[in-house]
Amino acid sequence: MNEVHFVTLAEADFSWLPSLFSFRLLSCLALATAIFSIGAWGVLARRNILVMLISVELMLNAVMLCFVSFSRALVNLPAPNGNAFAAEGGQIFALFIIAVAAAEAAVGLAIVMAYFRNRQTVDTRDIQALKH
């Protein structure tokens, strides 16, 4: 009879956790944070839809970078509680994000093109037809 044993948070051994944050992982995360922030600022502050789309791509790439860096960092880790980390998960997610980002860029650009043909503008200040 295999009984699943759940470890409460208080009992769990987290001594392996600090080793995760090696210098290389931290610098990768810092880079990802920077890229994400730039992207977020671009989406919030810029008025040009094309630029906003590019910023969205930046944010996606930052997230992707997080995934692959964690994946890389987890490879050498001991498996706590007998459970193996799925280190490949992060890389698979990165591939998914590339595919989704490509699709998103295609759809987004197609909409922007169609809108530009009708209204000759890509400025969000002029795109307010659905205002209250």
Binding site: V43, L44, R46, M52, T124, I127, Q128, L130, K131, H132
Partner: protein, 736 residues
């Protein structure tokens, strides 16, 4: 009576007929389906034929089942000491449970049919008289355009009535109860193009609703006390013991000398209402003072398990509960059987076709209340107060309606008030404990009142639809058969010796007098006097009807006179059969019926032969006096009454029904309309329209007016919102 063939094993036949009981209501239902679904596509002959065939087959099957149930059956009964004993049961009820209908918590209700002597007898009357009236209808309704619809309703009525009578629990009885009410409504308003007739149907329905509420509350009370709505325990294999018995057990309490007999009540598993009542009546303690919380020494019957203790307070005794339940059920019976506060719909119900009046509003449906009282008579016997109420209401209705009938000029109205009055006699009989004689009167009344209605239908048919007796007269020459049969019916109604009505009415009056003689309560003497006066009035108005219709000279217009003709054989044959039953129906059962029904003997009147002699003389004087006076006034001297213009106070009182209907019209209806108007203004206009409908719209517009400012059209702001939302979600997740 045993119609079973010799070769048939009685036990197997019994089981077979029990399982096949469902055929009795099913056959009329099939007839209804055929007529209802092929309304336009079926010929007149086929339509009437299907309906009559359904009624006839149902009657035949009832006859066979009845003979199986009453035929006597040897059965092994386990005696209290454990030994088996072969008992030849004089009657063994047929009982079949076909499946569970409602199962909620401890409440259980099943589709079950039950035929004992009582329900079997009434099912025989319903299908038998019903069959005759179906046949009669083929002639009477021959010229009507909605022929198939008429027969569909008539068959549906038979179905509902048979469900009412044969069901084995109160809830299924209530379904039949409502079903016959529906059919009554549909058939009263059968000619719905006439607004007055349609509203007469509605009047009947509304009056019945009032009663039905009481009936429902009565069912709930019984359910709360006993936790069951079944009449008897579910059927078991033959040879197992089922009726409750008392087992005397000798116990020797410590510290006392002598044996103390202690009783143990053995009940069947899942006892029904009647089992409880029977068991409780076997227990020695006075029932009225018994608290609801009690159980027998060995705990076999334990009422405290039931809901009652949770609903009712401690001082609420079993007697109080029984009074409450029985009075509430009697309110339902008042509605259905047109007793005093709720009688007013029945005279108006004469708007329906005459065969309908005969079947539904005289012979069968209106006696459902009496059937209910007789079915539950062990419960009624537990509540003397409810019996008092029943006797008083019945007696007052009997005299009241008889007085109203004295001045009616519409031939059907006379019979309608007569029906109300005779129903009063039945309840009077039931109220003094003579349930068997009440049922006897139901049966004989079904014969002679159906006969009288069908005869009046024949007269109306001959008079081209004229119902006013002032425009009739001298019809005995043109309608000899109708005259003879109606004369027999009137003799039976008036209580002429040896006719059916005499046996039953005389028995009921004797029981009332015996009850008065025994209890020395003046109220029963008063009721007896009222009932005798009512009997005199009954004899008077029935022969007033005969005199005005059949004697003297014809007062109809020349055009109507030309068309007067005797009715076709489809109509006269049922008249002859019913006339035979009205004349001889009493002799057949006068002495055997009470023992046959196996009801308890109401009083010890066997010890008072003088009661019977006094009653016999009094009723005979009343009957002969009424008959002779009416014939003298209306057959010999031919007075044509004009009650509406009469200066006589008594005539005016009777013609105006003592102001009861005016009271309903003026006070009850007006109060109701004012109440409805107030409710309309407060609930409908103020709460629903203003507060809910318009208020909701206003609130939505106000909120949305504020919220729509958020939709600024600036995409970047929306993006900021998304970001903030994501951050908030993240915050709450990490904080967790």
């Amino acid at each position: 009576m045993n119609l079973l063939p010799e070769w048939m094993d009685p036990q197997r036949a019994h089981a077979f007929y029990a399982d096949a009981l469902f055929l009795i209501p099913l056959l009329p239902f099939l007839g209804f389906l055929i007529n209802a679904l092929t309304r336009k596509g079926i010929s007149r002959g086929a339509s009437g034929g299907v309906a009559c065939l359904a009624a006839a087959l149902s009657f035949l099957w009832t006859l066979l089942s009845f003979s199986a149930s009453a035929g006597g059956l040897a059965d092994h009964v386990r005696l209290p000491d454990g030994s088996l004993c072969l008992v030849r049961d004089p009657a063994h009820p047929l009982h079949a449970v076909y499946g569970t209908w409602i199962e909620v918590g401890a409440f259980h209700c099943s589709f079950g049919l039950y035929m004992d002597q009582l329900s079997g007898l009434l099912a025989l009357v319903v299908t038998g008289v019903g069959l005759l009236i179906h046949i009669y209808s083929m002639g009477y309704m021959g010229h009507d355009k909605a022929y198939a619809r008429y027969f569909a309703y008539l068959n549906l009525f038979l179905f509902a009535m048979l469900v009412l009578i044969l069901s084995d629990n109160l809830v299924l009885t209530f379904v039949g109860w409502e079903g016959v009410g529906l059919c009554s409504y549909l058939l009263i308003g059968f000619w719905y193009e006439d607004a007055a007739k349609a509203s007469a149907g509605m009047k009947a329905f509304i009056f019945n609703r009032v009663g039905d509420l009481g009936f429902l509350l009565g069912i709930f009370t019984l359910l709360a006390v006993f936790g069951t709505v079944d009449y008897v325990a579910p059927p078991r294999q033959l040879g197992t013991y089922r009726a409750p018995v008392i087992e005397p057990r000798l116990m020797k309490p410590t510290g006392q000398g002598g044996d103390v007999a202690q009783e143990t009540l053995l009940m069947p598993e899942n006892p029904g209402l009647l089992d409880y009542a029977k068991g409780l009546s076997l227990l020695a303690a006075p029932k009225a003072t018994r608290p609801l919380r009690f159980s027998t020494p060995d705990g076999r019957i334990d009422l405290s398990r039931n809901l009652a203790t949770r609903i009712f307070p401690d001082w609420f005794t079993l007697g109080t509960a029984m009074t409450l339940a029985c009075v509430l059920l009697f309110v339902g019976a008042c509605g259905k059987s047109a007793q005093l506060p709720l009688y007013a719909w029945l005279p108006d119900a004469m708007a329906g076709p005459t065969p309908v009046s005969a079947l539904i509003h005289a012979a069968t449906m209106v006696t459902a209340g009496v059937y209910m009282a007789a079915r539950l008579h062990p419960l009624y016997l537990m509540s003397p107060e409810a019996m008092h109420v029943m006797a008083c209401v019945g007696g007052l209705t009997a005299i009241f309606a008889a007085l109203c009938a004295l001045t009616q000029t519409d031939i059907k109205k006379v019979l309608a008030y007569s029906t109300v009055s005779q129903l009063g006699y039945m309840f009077l009989g039931a109220g003094v404990g003579a349930f068997a004689f009440a049922i006897f009167h139901v049966v004989t009344h079904a014969f002679f009142k159906a006969l009288l209605f069908l005869c009046s239908g024949s007269v109306i048919h001959a008079m081209s639809g004229e119902q006013d007796m002032r425009k009739m007269g001298g019809l005995r020459k043109q309608l000899p058969l109708t005259f003879i049969t109606m004369f027999i019916g009137a003799l039976a109604l008036a209580g002429f010796p040896f006719f059916a009505g005499w046996w039953s009415k005389d028995a009921i009056l004797a029981q009332v007098l015996a009850r008065a003689h025994e209890s020395h309560e003046s109220i029963y003497y008063l009721l007896y006097v009222l009932a005798v006066v009512g009997a005199f009035c009954t004899a008077f108005y029935s022969f007033r009807l005969i005199g005005m219709t059949f004697f003297g000279t014809c007062r109809a217009s020349a055009e109507v006179k030309q068309h007067i003709h005797e009715s076709p054989p489809t109509m006269t044959t049922p008249l002859l059969v019913l006339a035979f039953l009205s004349a001889a129906g009493g002799v057949l059962w006068a002495n055997s019926l009470p023992t046959f029904l196996n009801f308890p003997e109401p009083t010890q009147n066997a010890n008072h032969p003088q009661v019977h002699h006094v009653n016999l003389v009094v009723t005979l004087v009343a009957a002969f006096g009424g008959i002779l006076l009416a014939l003298f006034l209306y057959a010999k001297n031919q007075k044509v009454p004009q009650p509406a213009q009469s200066k006589n106070v008594l005539v005016a009182l009777s013609w105006n029904k003592f102001g009861v209907e005016a009271f309903y019209d003026k006070v009850v209806t007006t109060t109701f309309i004012i109440l409805a108007e107030m409710l309309y203004l407060v609930v409908d206009v103020l709460i629903i329209d203003t507060l809910f409908v318009n208020g909701l719209g206003f609130a939505t517009r106000a909120t949305s007016g504020a919220l729509r400012r958020m939709q600024s059209g600036v995409v970047n702001l929306y993006a900021a919102g998304i970001l903030l939302g994501a951050l908030a979600v993240l915050f709450f997740l990490l904080r967790g």
